[in-house]
Assembly symmetry: C2
Amino acid sequence: MEKIGFLLLLLVLAVTLTSVFGEKGLEFPSHDGKDRLINLSKKNFNRFLKKFDILVVYFTVPHDANDKYLAKQWQLTEEMLELAAQITEREGVGFGVVDLEKDKKLAEKLDKTEAGAIYAYKAGHSVEFDGQRSTDVLVEFVLELDEYPVEEINSKTEVQGFRRDESTKVIGYFESNTASGYDEFVDAAHDFQPVISFYAVFQKLLARQLGLTELNQVDFYEPYMKKSIVIPGETPLDNTVIEKFVQEHKRATLRKLRTMDMYETWEDDINDIHVVAFADETDPEGFEFLQLLKEIAHIHTDDPNLSIVWIDPDDFTLLHDYWERTFGIDLSEPQIGIVNVTDADSLWMERRKSRLPTMAELEKWISDVLSGKINTEDDDDDFNLD
Amino acid sequence: MEKIGFLLLLLVLAVTLTSVFGEKGLEFPSHDGKDRLINLSKKNFNRFLKKFDILVVYFTVPHDANDKYLAKQWQLTEEMLELAAQITEREGVGFGVVDLEKDKKLAEKLDKTEAGAIYAYKAGHSVEFDGQRSTDVLVEFVLELDEYPVEEINSKTEVQGFRRDESTKVIGYFESNTASGYDEFVDAAHDFQPVISFYAVFQKLLARQLGLTELNQVDFYEPYMKKSIVIPGETPLDNTVIEKFVQEHKRATLRKLRTMDMYETWEDDINDIHVVAFADETDPEGFEFLQLLKEIAHIHTDDPNLSIVWIDPDDFTLLHDYWERTFGIDLSEPQIGIVNVTDADSLWMERRKSRLPTMAELEKWISDVLSGKINTEDDDDDFNLD
């Protein structure tokens, strides 16, 4: 998240119950009561950093103990962190808290100023957790971070699996996993794990199938793009070259909102505006609309001014009512619109005879958005096909 | 769930926080404090059944108010139900509670005896919610139930979407959506919504692409099977014929554990035993293992004694540590084993040189499981390839 000084947190209770009935094997855990959260300070930080494979740090500020609301928020946050710590303990993961006021020195050393932020420290790298504040999503993030940062591709089936991965991905072809270029590649992967996937291939035949013709070639894929971009530079590429390229190219023309990095995506708006598309991929009409969006993305892939955030409403059922009310739309049908992130003001493309727009209609709408003809500041001027 | 008289519920707090920062548009809701849960009785039940499009009913028994543990469980359950009721209120969904002791007459009328069970009543049908006890999963279930029970396929792209749906599915070819056979089909769909998807096609050309040659033909697809089974009977098929067929065939050779019906799947063991496979589909090796499992399922599709439960660990991160400890396995690699659901005792196929098993090795293991040579009662006789 951006450094904005202070994050006010509203909390929602989501209850997960374990049904203990005849059958066994699906018992959800509850906190066992053991305190695992460490009070971190400048004095003990390096010790705990060494002790754990991953150290997850929550940054906070002191709250007025008499403020019932804030006290409740903190209690719920603690429960989230304690349960996540319990579940990941055996993987060598530690959880700590840094008070931005009381542990000012440590906060300065870590260069952190934002209360409510969560960072994970691993192997000399730090990654922000900018996803949904719930135990399951935080645990997913930590478990994925705990894996080796590069996935090896060793068979034709694994090539298929790679092709099916439609998120942002990076792939390199190396002599072996001891090649110096590979080390640089792994180093770069650490900076993006687990949000962007890094793959490596060591077999010439598989590399060719993947379009990697030269040793030490590293390719970058935007989400939903079949064609890759070769990361330019003198090979073997330095980790900083890879990192810089990925940083500069990671805002995709079409990207899916994911619980694991939802806030990072949302904060990456263009002039306060997001083009947002709702489509349920498992619904035939939603699937069809998504294919249109992918075509649009193919056409506009080189336009830095277009980035469509695709939201599958099934991934965010808790936000269903909020979105329908705030945006004034029906989420049981595919929708596309623009959202102003400063006030959640929005404008949505009209559906004609409740059918999907044609490619031409969608292209026209997109170009009107890009030209500013369609904007959220001019609500009476709704887009109309007639 | 089976009727076992009383469900003891263990609850876990999962905290979802809304970060209210600069950007707007992703605010998670919290309970607004309004009581929406209805105390249902024999007297008022029909009135509320009429009032709501969907009535979700939680069955409970009185608890000792002095028992702090039970009081806390009930408080968390109420919070789950209240928030779900708030989120789905605008869709015409009501939430009620039936006390199995105090409202004995209503419980008898509804033929319910199990505390902790959740049923949804819609359009004269009732469907059990047998999924994870958390607000998001319950809301997902209700929202999917709120849609029309049959999806229409109207284009080639939608045919593609249908093919990509790898869950259990039923598809019918009808003259139009006013044909009598279609009415029966919709009626049958209501009994399985939202757990099993029903599709309909009205265009001859699209029907042919889907292998539906005769009007009123209804096909059933097991998960991961490219070939369908024509549901036998005199056409147009009566809803009871479709229902009976789906009931009898819904235990698939390979099925994915889903949060929405996880307990239903888990209770559907064969002689207390599940064959369980863990594979992370987004991991190259996990993807490859899943392809092996699909091949196995193709080969054994007619064997009623084989049903493999595939679990993608990413869908159940809260259970990660519990499974690793209980089963003694490493979930970062694909695993296959047998689990006894009476005591969670389990036995897992050994990995040789930490590589995936070959098809022949997997086939051998499966046949040893089916013959009883591999079983959880004989732990020292671990499967060994040597």
